[in-house]
């Protein structure tokens, strides 16, 4: 009896996969190169200003930060904490590979040493490295379409780092929707372990572009921990004063 049911179930699932196979064959695999170029430039532009909210969930507390950010090209970023009041004015400046933190309470600017690049940025699950790295999906990885995803609909791409590239991730699995927006990104470290997962949602129009406004980063090794970043507003290609990305300006952020 049980055996018969099992056999039926197997037959049924086989026919389903056959059926879905035929559907897939009609769905043309996407142009990976074009998607990656699109993803690389999704949040980038010649210049931008944005406001965002970061919620850090830890075992102990949930902390919410409000930030304002300026960027120009791929090399210059300034992020200033606006809330909570206790940390307001705390700022991070990136120019090229260098990262500085400005701490208004002690009125000091400190350059983050290379040894701390993988350390937490402002107590979030983002690393300092995440702010600095210019890793380009398009340039640094060899990519291929892995398989079709049904729910949510899209394509799983597998990106493997090129042998000559020195970086944190050996492999990235990327789920991209049919309208070329990121849904999920899984980062595997150099030892092949899943290190963290990023999920993108709340797609809406920001700064004239349709993009996910929310990103949830979940590190694999720390249970109960995650960081959620939500863009409140973004303006692309706006004029930004030349001295925005300078140390002297950094110290006047408050």
């Amino acid at each position: 009896m049980a055996r018969a049911r099992l056999l039926r179930a197997v037959a049924l699932s086989a026919s389903i996969s056959l059926f879905s196979g035929t559907v897939e064959s009609f769905q043309k695999p996407p142009d990976v190169e074009a998607i990656l170029t699109h993803l690389d430039d999704l949040y980038r532009s010649k210049s931008s200003t944005s406001r965002m909210e970061i919620r850090v969930v830890s075992r102990r507390t949930t902390r919410t930060l409000r930030l304002k950010a300026w960027s120009r090209g791929e090399e210059e970023v300034l992020v200033v904490i606006e809330e909570p009041a206790r940390e307001a004015g705390t700022a991070t400046l990136r120019v090229g590979d260098n990262l500085w933190n400005y701490l208004p309470r002690i009125a000091r600017t400190i350059r983050v040493p290379p040894a701390m690049m993988l350390g937490s940025w402002m107590g979030t699950d983002f690393t300092n490295d995440d702010l600095v790295k210019e890793s380009s999906l398009h340039k640094d990885f060899v990519s291929r379409v892995e398989r079709r995803s049904e729910d949510p609909e899209g394509w799983w791409l597998t990106l493997e780092v090129k042998p000559e590239v020195v970086g944190r991730w050996a492999k990235i699995e990327f789920l991209v929707s049919d309208d070329w927006l990121p849904i999920e990104e899984r980062h595997f470290d150099r030892k092949g372990r899943l290190a963290r997962t990023m999920r993108f949602d709340e797609v809406k129009t920001l700064g004239g572009r349709r993009l996910p406004a929310r990103l949830v980063l979940t590190p694999t090794d720390v249970e109960g921990q995650s960081t959620e970043l939500r863009y409140l507003e973004i303006d692309f290609d706006v004029p930004i004063a030349d001295d925005t990305f300078s140390l002297s300006r950094l110290e006047q952020t408050r």
Binding site: S58, R60, T90, I106, R108, I110, P113, G123
Partner: protein, 410 residues
């Protein structure tokens, strides 16, 4: 059992051949003295390993939040440490208990940041002899810190400089402050010298938003040999429910073998003494009985029971062994008495090698302090006694089985 007269006669018999007996006593005495000296050095070594390991850093028992040892995350803290310390210090087996905070941070003199570990410690407890900050200056006012000398050299920091500390509080908030470097320290613990900035525990708790919390409780036991028991007892304290209480052997298993090797070495020494004493005693007693065949024949002919002869020879041999043991014991104890206080400078003994060596992230002074326990001396004397008896059994029974008539003819 052995009458006083038997002992007296045995003693007299022993010294009938002064030279032979003196030589035997000297041989036994020397080997006992060497074994005792060897034991005292083993003990010095064991104490040295234990003190270097557990003194400044590890302690005998440590308490952490579960998992802290795995990732050393800031937020894995022990709460209510004041009441925990109270409870621990009430235990009569606990010599001292102190708490620490460990916070990874960025330190900067100017603009360059350096990765450091900020340690919050109890100045008073950590400044005692043999502890982490023994001999270091202890800052008395707020905002003063001590800095590892190697770290200071790397950062270009000098005494009196003001540095910025930036880290993350236990609640994830930003922790930052300016502190003044009161002194540069050279501790026995490498990582403190290379990465450590030491802050008073209360200030560390404030800076890192963890009032009445800590990452580590370090307990030193009154009896370092009963640590396992103490750890399991402390783990049962209601204040320590939900924490991880471990003895140093569990915390540093790779170090346990450094001490366990001593037991093997001790057995080796005992074998040595068996060989030396039995050779000395057996030879002496064999010679003595061969020489006195005529005498034993006479005694037996006069009606002495064979048991009486056996007892006398055994008594002679025990007297010989114990005399040697007494001499050796005196020499051995003298050696320990001379070296115990000042210690043996191993560097000088080996011709001016380094006075310290670095191993397992700790610096190990090359000075040893020999010591002996009553058990060591007792065990050695017992070994001599047993060996003397065993070695004289054959000569004794040989003498007892003599036929008086034939023995008298010899």
């Amino acid at each position: 059992m052995v009458a006083g007269s038997t002992l007296r006669i045995a003693w007299r018999n022993l010294w009938r051949n002064r030279r032979r007996t003196s030589l035997a006593v000297a041989a036994i005495g020397l080997s006992v003295a060497l074994v005792l000296a060897y034991y005292s050095l083993l003990r010095a070594y064991a104490d040295w390993v234990l003190a270097t390991l557990t003194g400044p850093m590890l302690g005998h028992v440590q308490v952490h939040a579960p998992e802290w040892r795995k990732d050393r995350a800031m937020d894995r803290t022990i709460e209510d440490v004041a009441s925990i310390l109270d409870a621990l210090r009430r235990d009569p087996e606990v010599a001292s208990a102190t708490v620490r905070v460990y916070a990874p941070a960025l330190a900067a003199l100017g603009e360059e940041g350096f990765a450091v570990i900020v340690m919050g410690v109890d100045w008073e407890a950590e400044s005692r002899p043999g502890r982490l900050l023994a001999g270091a200056p202890t800052p008395r006012s707020r905002g003063r810190v001590l800095m590892g000398r190697a770290l200071a050299e790397m950062m270009g920091v000098r005494e009196g400089d003001e540095i910025a500390l930036v880290g993350q509080g236990a609640d994830g908030s930003l922790a930052n402050d300016l502190v003044q470097v009161q002194g540069l320290i050279e501790t026995p613990v490498d990582f403190v010298n290379r990465q450590g900035i030491v802050l008073e525990i209360g200030e560390a708790q404030t800076l890192f938003a963890m009032p009445d919390e800590a990452h580590e409780v370090v307990v030193h036991a009154r009896d370092p040999d009963a640590v396992e028991l103490l750890a399991s007892k402390l783990a049962g304290l209601p204040n320590l429910a939900g924490t991880e209480v471990l003895d140093w052997q569990t915390l540093a298993p790779e170090m346990v073998s450094l001490i366990e090797i001593i037991e093997v070495a001790g057995v080796f020494a005992l074998v040595l003494i068996f060989v030396a004493a039995s050779a000395g005693v057996a030879n002496t007693m064999l010679m003595a009985t061969f020489e006195r065949t005529h005498e034993f024949g006479m005694l037996l002919a006069l009606g002495a029971a064979p048991g009486c002869i056996v007892r006398m020879i055994l008594a002679e041999s025990v007297a010989l062994g114990l005399t040697g043991a007494a001499l050796g014991g005196t020499l051995g104890l003298l050696f320990v008495a001379v070296t115990h206080e000042t210690g043996l400078d191993f560097a000088a003994l080996t011709g001016g090698g380094p006075t310290e060596l670095s191993f397992a992230g700790l610096s190990w002074s090359m000075r040893f302090y020999p010591s002996l326990a009553a058990g060591d001396v007792g065990r050695t004397i017992l070994a001599v006694l047993v060996t003397s008896l065993i070695a004289s059994i054959w000569p004794a029974f040989r003498a007892a089985r003599l036929e008086p008539a034939r023995a008298l003819r010899d």
